[in-house]
Amino acid sequence: MTLVLENVSKVYKDGPKEFKALDNVSLEVKPGEFIAIIGPSGSGKSTMLSIAGALLSPTSGRILLDGENTANLSANKITQRRLEKIGFVFQAANLIPYLKVKDQLSVINVIAKNKNKTRGNELLGHFGLAHRVNNYPNELSGGERQRVAIARALINDPKIILADEPTASLDSKRGREVVEMLADEIKTRGKSGIMVTHDERVLDLCDRVVTIRDGRLEE
């Protein structure tokens, strides 16, 4: 198992009231498995993804990243684990506006002090972006931007891929293409994938669909 959530709860305090964003959630993701999380807005999808991605710590429960409990790690170590083990694909791509496509990937190499610089070009070629390497994000289409974001998530060869509504800014055809690429990467390279989505038309590309409602998981 590369990603395990064990009895995870997240409670927000709002004055005297308590709000349970996640209520005793457990989830295991196997290598090569692609899970979709759906649910109405405010149901705790984003909270769950943030906790799985070590961006947020749970109120109770354990998260095992590649067998390691993140609860015991320092903030710097957690950042390092995110860098090494997790690839994020954000809503609306969230690329850095002043970096060319090739540098969107290089910056991760720089942060991670990677020596292997050729992988970026391979990935961009693989996603059909070879002719776009010297363009800035504002010169790309929405689909291209999201493909760059996927390439960026993969540059470090992480074991876990987390996607936050990757199709939100795309039309259904482009959205499906992007999710197909994501699913293909996860299956062929044996990664564990979680995708939060509203888009029911891409659910058939996932191995499992989990519904979250009022902080509880239903399968």
Binding site: I96, I111, A112
Partner: protein, 354 residues
């Protein structure tokens, strides 16, 4: 620096604009510093370059050498005190001299001392004085067309002949003439050379009859010297503060605009220290370029200034000022650093962490 350089080159326009402001502020700081140093030298270089450590004056004169009067015989008493290595008389008189008996008049400061004393500066042209009717003049008089061999007349007094020129001897914005008129009655001040360690003993020997001040302190007695320097220095301090605030405001706004990107980078695994280094790198890079351009601009402006304009740029002073501007810029950017540190990577995922 990966991000810093790429952002600078991509967002050229906004960084060129802020850079332009920095260049102008840096140039203004350099120019006013040059003017401060120049006016200081124009007003006091004869005192600053005096071959003496301390100046003795009458207490009532309140540091104004020209208002102090000491009987000449005091000089011998002072010279005998243990620890005093050299003691020389100095009298300063502001005069108007007519040149070669013509209509041409020049304001000069007469520095009267002993021909065999240490106060007489070395000449850069001509020879030193040999008798009571010869003077050494500051080379700034050459700009008025005065040459060696010209005579100067003060009122009804006898004529003096310029036998040599010396450099950097100005007092109260006028050229200094050094002479020994042979008069041995009242003098304005006594200058001494003495080791710093022995000055307290010397002071107690002399008692209250004379004030002993360093040559540096004696500058304050030159009319308008301290007022002139204080107002210019205040301008420089204000410019430093303005530079800090302009940069602080600029980088604060830019950082606010980049919150999302910083959130994404942190979520992707960039440590805060990496982002901080990039921000500081940007500030340092921008400041260094702007200071360099500012130095160039200042040197260009200096070349255009008239020669008799009191303007003095020293390499050491320029380096000091440059480093100070750099330091002030970095301090200005600290406000933005707090922002960068505070940004939570969870902001990259919308709808979470609320």
């Amino acid at each position: 620096m990966f991000l810093a350089i790429r952002e600078l080159t991509h967002a050229k326009f906004r960084y060129v604009l802020i850079g332009l402001i920095m260049v102008l502020i840096a140039s203004l700081i350099f120019i006013i510093s040059g003017l401060t140093k120049g006016l200081s030298a124009d007003n006091a270089s004869a005192i600053q370059n005096l071959q003496a450590d301390y100046v003795l004056m009458e207490p009532d004169a309140e540091l104004e050498i020209t208002k102090s009067f000491i009987p000449h015989k005091k000089l011998d008493d002072i010279a005998k005190i243990d620890g005093v290595e050299e003691a020389n008389p100095l009298s300063i008189r502001m005069m108007n001299a007519s040149v070669n008996g013509t209509q041409q008049n020049e304001d000069v400061a007469l520095f009267v001392t002993e021909a065999d004393g240490v106060l007489l500066p070395s000449v850069s042209e001509g020879k030193t004085i040999a008798n009571e009717n010869e003077v050494i003049a500051d080379s700034s008089l050459k700009r008025e067309g005065i040459e060696i061999g010209d005579t100067l007349q003060f009122g009804e007094e006898s004529e003096f002949t310029i036998v040599g020129f010396t450099d950097n001897q100005r007092y109260s914005h006028t050229s200094v003439l050094f002479m020994d008129n042979g008069q041995r009655d009242n003098i304005n001040a006594i200058t001494i050379q003495a080791e710093e360690g022995k000055i307290d003993a010397i002071k107690s020997t002399i008692g209250d009859s004379l004030d002993i001040v360093t040559t540096e302190e004696a500058l304050q007695g030159i009319p308008s010297y301290s007022q002139e320097q204080a107002s210019l220095n205040m301008m420089i301090i204000f410019l430093f503060v303005i530079a800090a605030f302009v940069l602080a405001a600029f980088f604060y706004v830019i950082t606010l605009q980049k919150r999302d990107q910083f959130g994404v980078l942190k979520a992707l695994g960039a440590k805060t220290i990496y982002l901080v280094k990039n921000l500081i790198g940007q500030v340092v890079l921008l400041s260094v370029i702007c200071i360099a351009v500012g130095v160039g601009l200042t040197l260009g402006i200096k070349a255009l200034l008239p020669e008799d304009m009191p303007f003095l740029l020293e390499t050491s002073g320029m380096i000091q000022t440059s480093l100070l501007i750099l330091a002030v810029s970095v301090v200005g950017a600290l406000v933005s650093l707090v922002q960068v540190v505070k940004i939570d990577p969870i902001e990259a995922i919308e709808g979470a962490g609320k």
